[in-house]
Amino acid sequence: MNPQLLLNYLDARRTTLVRLPEGAKLHVELLAIAPHFYAHIPADAAADLSHRREALANLLTGELTGERPDLLGLLRPLPLRETLPVLGVLAERRINCRRARRLGLALVLNHPDLPELAAARRNRLARLLRHLLGECSWSGVRRALEPQTNGRGQVFLEKLLGRYAPVTPAVREALAVLTGAPVEPTHPALRRRLAARTTLAEGEGLPRETLFGLRGVFHPKTPASQVRYLAAPVARAAADGPLTVGYKAALSGQAPSVPPEVLRGPDARPALPGRLAVVLDLSASTASSGERAYHPAALGLAVARQLQARVSDVSVVPVGGTDRPHGGTDLASAVLEAARQGPGAVLVVTDGYENTRPGDTAAVVVGLRRLGFDAPVLQVVPRFTPGEDLSRRRLGEAIPLLAVDHEGDVGELLARVVLAHAGAELAPEDLDQIETLLFVR
């Protein structure tokens, strides 16, 4: 297959589909040409939700040649909180074929997170199950969960759901809460949710939107500030990885150094063969300031460390400081130094404030090409938030820019290096390697 197709996906996957005029076409092509690669997309944590939903819909309804990928096996290890919005596409597009029903019910009813999700995302989950089972069956489930069914209810439930999951007491409790059947649950989350109908404070620790939903129906006079006080704290969308946290603490003086167990632990997988040069910008600007203090330097150091752990031969050419932010940003000289080592690729990890001098790196890369140096040169920007405008921080049009938000994003960096080396056709073993780099968590 043409590696450009995968590069197009990597370029597109963080952008919502409605903003990609060629997005739907890209999905159709990927499904037709690389169905096994495509089957990973519903579970691709780096992809925008719209891509994951589109891929799931296409995989369930599209024409596939050969063996169908094991979607259940790919989605089962993920938290149900993450897969539920993806599965939501089944209800929204009214996809209720046998494959969709089996995937949705087996995934949801077998998942250990079911009671938690039934408490926190009741409406969304109930809508999905009602769609998969159909209105009549859903009403039947509710009747079967009534206390006075004398065992007939359990028989009905096992006949209806038993082929997807065992109907355990935990599943019955969750279904009762979802269908509105009377129940006194034993699971703490379900108990909290039902108790919050009477006293909102009993729902302390539930997600904010769940509590606001309960407030709207049962406690309209409760102040919003109290709801916010009771709600579970919202975690930052992209929390730093352990290496980034360690480097930040060391750079800011909160810790003497990065703990050895953190430095040792990036990856247990076998290293990829090859020689990689990393130009690591540790100039003064990577110290940043305010809430972003030391973020560019720490994430850059973490990415370099991850690369050293995952590639057999990595040389690092620091710019500015050697172990902490310091001095100016002469990236061009560092790229030249990196090129002397004959690497298979050069990754320039920088915040993009090339001041000595702007444009010199781009000119040096043009010069390197004229001298026959054909290894890819990529700019990697450690980013604090996806909202950052990087347009003025590009090293040059001929140097592809890739933003990283997390130290775990090195998989994509390496996948791009493999793709850049692939030539016109991607070998099957390269495709396997790329799947591992991109999708193995």
Binding site: S285, P318, H326, G327, D351, Y353, T356, R370
Partner: protein, 342 residues
């Protein structure tokens, strides 16, 4: 691993006159603004001078136009840079008119400060706070009015300055800073203090507009971000908005032989630019000889240059320059007209 710091430095481009002991270093650039680093030929820590952000405290504002400044250091002289501004919410913001010298622990009453927020009442509160700096476009007028009194004597210039940026009228500097802050802030990251650097010469769209020298590298590391964001940044934004850019210097890549050849051409191009800019600085600093002595404080001489084009102050200890700030008159018309040759 080899670091940049271990690479051979470019040939010395030494200065004389008030910049004696300094040489031109690397040129940094971002947008229309460029800075030629000034580094000492023999680095001296000069510990007798303390850094301003850590040791300058606004001790009080007894009345509009008068500020009390304190050097909080237990030992060491503080040279307060020219035209520092103090901004607080709900109080009249102030800026100073000239360079000042404070001994350790000294509180100095300065009665020729400016109010820079015309319609705001309230006096600034005592605070150990970060300071700003008047933009280049206001500095000649501010220096010319040193020693005089009157809270609002810079309002007319502020009004003319902010109108160049399409900002509402009045003597309100904050009305310029607020909307332009997102564009000014990246400059703080784009220009970085180099090891041992004690000063810089600033160029906007290829024109030399200012030369700044600090007593030591610590002092410079604190002053440089303020200078670039508030002092010279606004001029660069004005230039960019009017379509001016820093001159492009494409690298000659014809007939490249090998990597050494490429590295040599890169170094030569940078050296050539630094040399040419150093020549401009050399001509500008010669004007400092016309500066008139205006007194002495704690053993330091303060001299002021007021000219048609160049203005500034030099604080010196004997023949050694401790602090220097020379700047050019700058406005939108400067950019629209022909390049001014020195």
């Amino acid at each position: 691993m080899t670091t940049l710091l271990e690479r051979p430095a470019p040939p010395a481009l030494a200065f004389d006159g008030p910049l004696r002991g300094l040489r031109a270093g690397a040129v940094q650039a971002w947008g229309a603004l460029e800075a030629l680093a000034l580094v000492p030929e023999r680095p001296e820590p000069r510990p007798q001078f303390v850094a301003p952000l850590r040791h300058l405290k606004l001790a009080g504002v007894p009345s509009y136009g008068t500020v009390d400044l304190e050097n909080t250091a237990e030992r060491g002289l503080l040279v307060v840079p020219m035209h520092v501004g103090f901004f607080q919410e709900g109080a009249q913001n102030h800026a100073t008119a000239r360079a000042l010298v404070l001994d350790a622990g000294e509180v100095l009453r300065v009665d020729d400060a400016f109010c820079v927020q015309q319609a705001q009442g309230g006096l600034l509160k005592e605070a150990q706070q970060r300071f700003l700096m008047l933009p280049l476009g206001l500095r000649p007028a501010a220096l010319a009015q040193r020693g005089s009194r009157g809270c609002g004597r810079l309002w007319e210039e502020i009004d003319a300055f902010t109108r160049q940026y399409g900002v509402a009228r009045g003597g309100h500097l904050e009305r310029f800073l607020r909307p332009y802050f997102p564009r000014l802030q990246p400059l703080r990251h784009a220009f970085e203090a180099l090891p041992e650097q004690v000063g810089a010469a600033y160029f906007v769209a290829g024109r030399l507009v200012g030369v700044e020298v600090a007593p030591n590298a610590d002092y410079w590391a604190e002053l440089a971000p303020v200078l670039v964001m508030y002092g010279y940044g606004p001029a660069a934004l004005l230039a960019e908005d009017r379509g001016h850019r820093a001159p492009e210097r494409p690298l000659d890549l014809e007939g490249l032989a090998d990597l050494d050849d490429l590295a040599g051409r890169l170094a030569a191009s940078r050296r050539e630019q630094a040399g040419r800019y150093a020549e401009e600085v050399r001509r500008a600093q010669a004007l400092a000889a016309d500066a008139k002595a205006e007194g002495q404080r704690h053993g330091l001489d303060v001299a002021t240059l007021i000219g048609d084009d160049w203005n500034g102050q030099v604080v010196s200890e004997g023949t050694d320059t401790v602090y220097l700030s020379l700047f050019r008159r700058f406005s939108a018309r400067t950019l629209d007209g022909p390049a001014v040759s020195l």
